[in-house]
């Protein structure tokens, strides 16, 4: 089958792609911000509300049992997707951001103290920076940063000199949302484990593109969001090795996460419930199940193949445009291109792209320290999903040329 046949087949699953934007066919190149949802995901949510809406766990009635089963089946699907050893290592959260905050808080409460050190990377999203800054501030600990080279890759060799006896955790993303760099997380984890330091991987951009095997990676914590992998908003996952999750204190208190509450003393529930206080996003969790099934039935290999072709095509086309500079040229990268056109402000470019029907992200992409590193205020970022086409890239190229003329 040709690339385009594959893409057209995938496109059919996404109702939104028939939309127009500013009277032009929508060209959606903002997939790193959020992906669209296939019909199966949207339908699963309606079906839940129409047929078996009910609060989960502890309900004796059949409706509650059905909801609970669908909820727990999703947990098992997540387990299978990332090959966790056990389903109770999968904690549902409201998103990657909450997942990272939860681990940072709970791990930090137990293991981070005055003078201790946390290593993050220069490529991180604010969601994997600020939670650590909050912990560091509370505990009087320090943040150290693994630097980035000019191609937008982590300088792995520097890790050895950053690690000290005071290093308590290393937090790094799997893929940079701004540059597309795929980071050598397996090597980082190996180095860290040589010093008995656990590693949290922010997989918000990893899950949509890569095969993730948490046991093979031997990663301690892995966090991601549903909405970036064709799933609903308001749902995410924190995977943690059982030994850590049973060891660290709970993050939030409330219903479900307890075993027994008295005013004097409260004992916590088993995993995963210890970390799931309150009524969860049941519809969201059920939708996530369908999203992961969609990815599986489409095939991660196929997704990567399409994205690789789109990336290569876009890169070669963009490079032919004079005055266009691509930021992030890692050897190992995924379908994200950040760029600037001459000294045209990203906001100016984005405004014109929008008028031309192209939804594209402009700005710092929640990675201000990385922008500071490149000494730029932001970029224009095109990020591709397997429902994008080469024709859409051609439209982008034409639009860039128009922007050049308008601001020339």
């Amino acid at each position: 089958m040709s690339l385009n046949t594959d893409i057209q087949k995938i496109r059919k699953s996404f109702p939104i792609l028939k939309q127009e934007m500013n009277d032009r066919p929508l060209v959606y190149l903002d997939n790193a911000a959020t992906t669209h949802k296939p019909r199966v995901v949207i339908d699963a949510i309606s079906e839940y509300y129409n047929n078996y809406n009910s609060n989960v766990h502890r309900g004796v009635h059949t409706l509650s049992q059905k909801a609970t089963e669908a909820f727990e089946n999703s947990r098992e699907k997540v387990r299978e997707t990332i090959n966790a050893a056990s389903a109770h290592e999968i904690i549902f959260t409201s998103g990657a951001t909450e997942a990272i905050n939860m681990i940072a808080f709970s791990y930090g409460e137990k293991y981070i103290g005055e003078g201790d050190e946390i290593i993050i990377s220069g490529l991180e999203h604010h969601s994997n920076i600020v939670p650590w800054q909050l912990v560091a501030e509370r505990k009087n600990a320090h943040i150290k940063v693994l630097p980035v080279n000019e191609k937008g890759e982590l300088i792995l060799e520097k890790l050895d000199t950053l690690i000290t006896k005071k290093t308590r955790i290393i937090a790094v993303n799997h893929i940079s949302n701004t540059l597309g760099t795929i980071n050598p997380v397996k090597e980082i984890i190996k180095k860290a484990h040589n010093h008995d330091i656990p590693v949290l991987v922010d997989g918000a951009q990893g899950i949509p593109h890569l095969d993730v095997d948490v046991q093979d990676l031997d990663v301690d914590f892995y966090c991601f969001s549903g909405h970036k992998v064709y799933g609903p908003t308001g749902v995410g996952v924190a995977y943690g090795k059982e030994k850590w999750l049973s060891d660290i204190p709970p993050y939030k208190g409330g219903g479900e996460m307890i075993n027994r509450v008295t005013f004097e003393k409260t004992t916590y529930n088993d995993l995963p419930y210890k970390f799931e206080a309150g009524t969860p996003n049941i519809a969201g969790v059920i939708g996530l199940h369908k999203a992961l099934e969609f990815v599986e039935s489409t095939g991660k290999e196929k997704i990567r193949q399409i994205e690789r072709e789109l990336l290569d095509y876009a890169t070669s086309q963009l490079k032919q445009i004079e005055g266009l500079k691509i930021y992030g040229e890692a050897t190992n990268k995924t379908s994200v291109i950040s760029f600037l056109i001459n000294d045209i402000h990203p906001y100016d470019a984005g405004t014109i792209f929008d008028k031309l029907g192209i939804a594209i992200r402009t700005g710092h992409h929640c990675t201000q320290p990385l922008m500071d590193h490149f000494k730029i205020p932001g970029t224009v970022r095109a990020s591709f999903a397997p429902y994008n086409t080469k024709k859409e890239i051609d439209i982008l190229v034409e639009a860039i040329k128009k922007v050049k003329t308008m601001f020339g």
């Binding site: 766990h57 502890r58 309900g59 004796v60 049992q65 609970t68 089963e69 909820f71 727990e72 075993n259 088993d270």
Partner: protein, 146 residues
Amino acid sequence: MSIQAKQEEIIEEFSMFDDWMDKYNYLIEMGNSLEPLDEQYKTEKYLISGCQSQVWLYAWMEDGKLMIRGDSDAVITKGIVSLLLRVYSGEPPAEVYEDDHSFIDQIGLQEHLSPTRSNGLMSMLKQIKLYALAFKTKQEQKDKNE
């Protein structure tokens, strides 16, 4: 009677009921006639977690057989405990450990088998299998040493 035979007996008994009401009435009857567990075993240690009602299971070995007693504060749960005891108590731990408890399905209680069921039939079965495994291993060790 073997585990298998007892299960067949139960399946036959349940096949006589036309509707769920009769079945539950029978479970209730069994629950009400379950020999109460000695209070000393109604402790945290023997409590099965994850049930809406409290369930305690206590086990020991006697003449190479796994002996089980149990109780609950809810009658239907007691009925289920009673069923399990009837099948598994007094049997060799190896056989208990290997049984696939397919009779649950066949007497129409499969709805109770879901791991998310808060009555914890699954948890009870798991605990019985754990007891069986523990005593089986102990016995094997002993046999080896002798």
